[in-house]
């Protein structure tokens, strides 16, 4: 009797996915005793190809993990494909990865429009759309979209932190805003206005630019003419560098808030001119490897060693390469936590139970925490100010 019951009991345990079942090996498509298939979609071609390097860094890091024995004895089979930042192509590629390559999960697809295009599909298919590479707020919606999770601090929260800082330090400010005319720029702008709340009238001028614009000179002239004394700069690296330089050259001396997207010393402030960047205020959640402050930091040195060995073509001043390194570690952590229970459900469950996780590369004091009702891993940042040489933290860790 005992012998008959045992398998039934095991089956029951598996079906209930109780902790007992963890000892049992369990697989969904994409996972076997030998390997875990991880899919990724990045813009290697097209207008956003500058971000393609994230996908390459992740690949390099996963190769390192494989060289060191893999995760719980399994090698990661990383399949990264190109969507050219075109949503229809993203849909096609997501279907290829899920239906043809049968990956266990989709990791770090990049950009808000591409991720929006596959949001519903991934959730219908019940395949994890894990740690998407965009800061939109909508990825933290476990009730309606339990298979999608963000990673970085969302744009709205970050903007609200600047708003609070302005309210506290300069309650009578006249604010000018420059933003990119897309989902990313509008998300920041919304968070900023929400943060100002009743005092949103402090914004005296807001102007947008298109990614295809050669320069933002005209916009900067408009902003300066508004007589504003605070400037919130919601731009991607190239335009950020242009705006910083133009603000300085035209003699406009506002209190200048720069979004975290472009807060890299190596790829933005250096081209713009370090002297011209002096006084900038931004936020950080990762260390900046191009910042002298972290020159001797162990994490940063480890990253340099990793880049040298596994991604020698990668640009060491590009913040994306550091970002990719940290986010890839998060994936590895989740897969480690999943143990031998490599079902899609368990992967999501593990991703939603990160506790005070802080991989190398994160700023001290900033930790990832997730739960079944909180799908936003990184929710805290630190305010920083640039002194002409390096970023200096001047606030406690803010946010949740």
């Amino acid at each position: 009797m005992k012998h008959v019951l045992a398998p039934i009991a095991a089956l029951l345990a598996v079906a209930l996915a109780s902790p007992l079942a963890l000892a049992q090996k369990k697989y969904d498509p994409g996972a076997t005793d030998k390997e875990i298939k991880v899919g990724n979609i990045n813009p290697y071609s097209g207008p956003a190809s500058a971000y393609g390097t994230i996908g390459k860094t992740i690949g390099a890091y996963l190769k390192k993990v494989n060289d060191e024995g893999g995760i719980n004895g399994r090698k990661i089979n990383y399949i990264s494909v190109d969507d050219g930042y075109s949503p229809p192509k993203t849909v096609e590629m997501a279907r290829k990865l899920v239906e043809q390559d049968e990956v266990l999960l989709l990791f770090q697809p990049l950009g808000t429009p591409p991720n929006s295009a596959i949001h519903k599909y991934m959730n219908t298919k019940k395949v994890p759309q894990l740690f998407v590479a965009t800061g939109a707020t909508k990825w933290n919606d476990p009730k309606n979209f339990p298979w999608t999770m963000g990673w970085q601090p969302n744009y709205q929260d970050e903007a609200a932190i600047y708003a609070q800082h302005i309210l506290k330090t300069k309650p009578n400010a006249k604010i000018a805003v420059l933003y990119q005319n897309d989902d990313y720029g509008k998300d920041y702008l919304k968070g900023f206005k929400d943060g100002l709340g009743a005092k949103a009238g402090m914004i005296v001028k807001e102007v947008s630019y298109e990614v295809a614009d050669p320069t933002v000179d005209s916009q900067m002239v408009q902003l300066q003419a508004s007589g504003a004394d605070v400037f919130f700069n919601i731009t991607t690296p190239k335009f950020a560098a242009q705006a910083i330089r133009k603000a300085f050259d035209s003699g406009w001396k506002p209190v200048h808030y720069l979004n975290n997207v472009s807060a890299s010393i190596g790829s933005v402030l250096t081209p713009a001119g370090l002297d011209k960047s002096s006084g900038l205020i931004s936020t950080q959640y990762l260390k900046d490897p191009t910042d002298k402050a972290w020159e001797k930091d162990k994490d940063v040195l480890d990253w340099y060693a990793f880049m040298k060995k596994y991604y020698p073509d990668g640009n060491l001043t590009d913040a994306s390469n550091f970002y990719g390194w940290v986010v890839a570690q998060t994936l590895v952590q989740v897969l480690k936590q999943s143990g031998d229970n490599l079902t899609r459900e368990n992967v999501m469950k593990q991703a939603a139970s990160l506790k005070d996780y802080s991989p190398p590369g994160m700023l001290p004091g900033i930790k990832m925490n997730t739960s079944a009702t909180d799908y936003a891993p990184i929710q805290s940042v630190r305010l920083i100010q640039f002194d002409g040489k390096q970023w200096n933290g001047f606030s406690e860790v803010m946010g949740k």
């Binding site: 290697y44 071609s45 097209g46 207008p47 494909v81 075109s86 949503p87 229809p88 929006s116 295009a117």
Partner: protein, 337 residues
Amino acid sequence: MSKRNLILFALLLLIVCALPFLVSNYRTFQFTLVLVYAIALLGLNLLTGYNGQISLGHGAFYAIGAYTAAILMDKFGFPYWATLPVAGLVCLVVGFLFGLPALRLDGIYLALATFALGVSMPQLLKYHHLEKWTGGVQGIVITKPDAPFGLPLSPDQWLYFFTLVVMLVMFLFAWNLLRGRIGRALVAIRDHHVAAQAMGVNTAIYKSLTFGVSALYTGVAGALGAIAIQFVAPDSFNIFLSITFLVGIVIGGLASIPGAIYGAIFIQFIPNIADELSKAAPWAIFGIFLIGFVYAMPFGINGAIRMLLMRFGRKAQHAGSGSAVTEPSLKSKEASQ
């Protein structure tokens, strides 16, 4: 159509109908996109291949069609099939109106005007006064239709057949149109505008109508594309889409109906192959494919097939294209400039 061609056509149709039962849903979805692109390319080919009006902005009509379908489904609860005629009609009107001032423009000036249309479209879709309808930068998510009448088909298979039927109807219509008087008039305008006018062809009406019909085709394709993808956003319709369409008709074969299908296969699958060959520089591989194809087949795939057929001594009577219509030759192009 000769008897032999008819048999060939029937055989081809059989294969095309069997296809979704032989391959996975994902592949079926890809082939659906091929059919969608084929309709769009045929539309562009009517305008550029047959009528000689170069458009670098047909992605705009594709976008209008897609958004018309998405808005009708999302805001007004239209069933998916009912959006196609509306999308086509809207594009017909927009295309015709755009064609009127474009009448005054020739060659590269027209190319610029259409290019401007293609470039401006994403910005218009993002425009904040239209946001209520278009969803602004966030776009619109729509639902994929299931097979009706309890047919034992997956949604992908159903959509494939639905698209196939639409495509066949539209191709048949174009074929009928082009092999007769209208087709001859279009080609006459392309090859010698002034002469055509002198012979009594009302070039103005023909040219703007061609613009409208061409936009209609591309708009219907856009609507079908939106239904297949289940999502529209301004980023889906940037200028690269328009350029991809142009590439499609040139590689497929200008002024040929089957060329639209060859071109659609090219623009659907070659970028994927390029991506598989190189992650470092997928566009470079794609570029090499482009140049390679033009070298090997300067008159497109359809041109090459014809040439092959001729070399084997058969009559160059191709299933799809009527005898009234010939390839644009180098001379005629130079003369028109």
